[in-house]
Amino acid sequence: MAVDKNMNVLIVDDYNTMLRIIKNLLKQLGFNNVDEATDGTMALEKIKAKKYGLVISDWNMEPMSGLELLKQVRGSNDNNYMNVPFIMVTAESKTENVIMAKQAGVNNYIVKPFNAETLKTKIAAVLGDF
């Protein structure tokens, strides 16, 4: 099935620079409906309020981390968003982090710094080729 690039995408990071970078890279890939959140709590509110086709989140954020956000989403039992495709984009590069994210239900994991090609490849691995 073709990827709907008009889908809503939520990006979550406490660094405005990173939000801007990811938003621009997504724009180049054809995803123009991109919302932003600066921590897990804000992101969860947005996820509950609007249907997203993809969530791209950092890990280290306060008060709610990306991992906690993922756990809240997957553990919600709300069919509107509990299975939303979720990609972690983070500087956390230890094996245990990847394992924990996978156990929590992450769909893919990108370690910072990353390039546009990596972002595209990882999104395609989750949503399908585009």
Binding site: D13, Y15, N16, T17, R20, I21, A91, P113
Partner: protein
Amino acid sequence: MAESGKDAYGRDQVVKIINSVLQKVESGDDGRTAIFRELKQLQKIIDDARAELGAARAGDINSKHIPTATDELDAVVAATADATGTIMDACDIIGDKAGEVGGANGDAITAAVTSIYEACSFQDITGQRITKVVTTLRTIEDKVSKLVAVLSDKLPIEMQVGEEEDKRVGDERLKNGPQMAGEAISQADIDKLLSDFS
């Protein structure tokens, strides 16, 4: 008899003196003069240690040096964020123009702009590394506080108060690096200063 210099204040020397005193007392040796001399020696070692600890100005670590370090690191994060924002603003303009150019040239420009965006993620990484440094500094600050508290309890230290004297001379005194916002004078101030002197 203890020798002068750093060796006199070594832990081994202190233990040696204490053991010697205890030995004399236990053996019933009526060498009161020798015992008194060794106790005076011990007292001097303790007094000197107190003075040296006070002179080390351990309190400055938490009241001045660590706050200065963390302020400077915060300024680094802020400055790099500002600069990155400026770079990306310029990239937005270039990216838009690349769209107008179109064709192979437009694609090449877009690719170059993309590379710049990717490189700008350095600001995120450096920010996180600096956060780790600040956390480490706070840990050091906490441990120093505890150490000073323990020492003050066991060995009352005369903390030196007031600003530490700046012992730099000549050109070295003028090397203070970038100032924090609010402490630096502006270019306009400098221009006025220069014109006032001419």
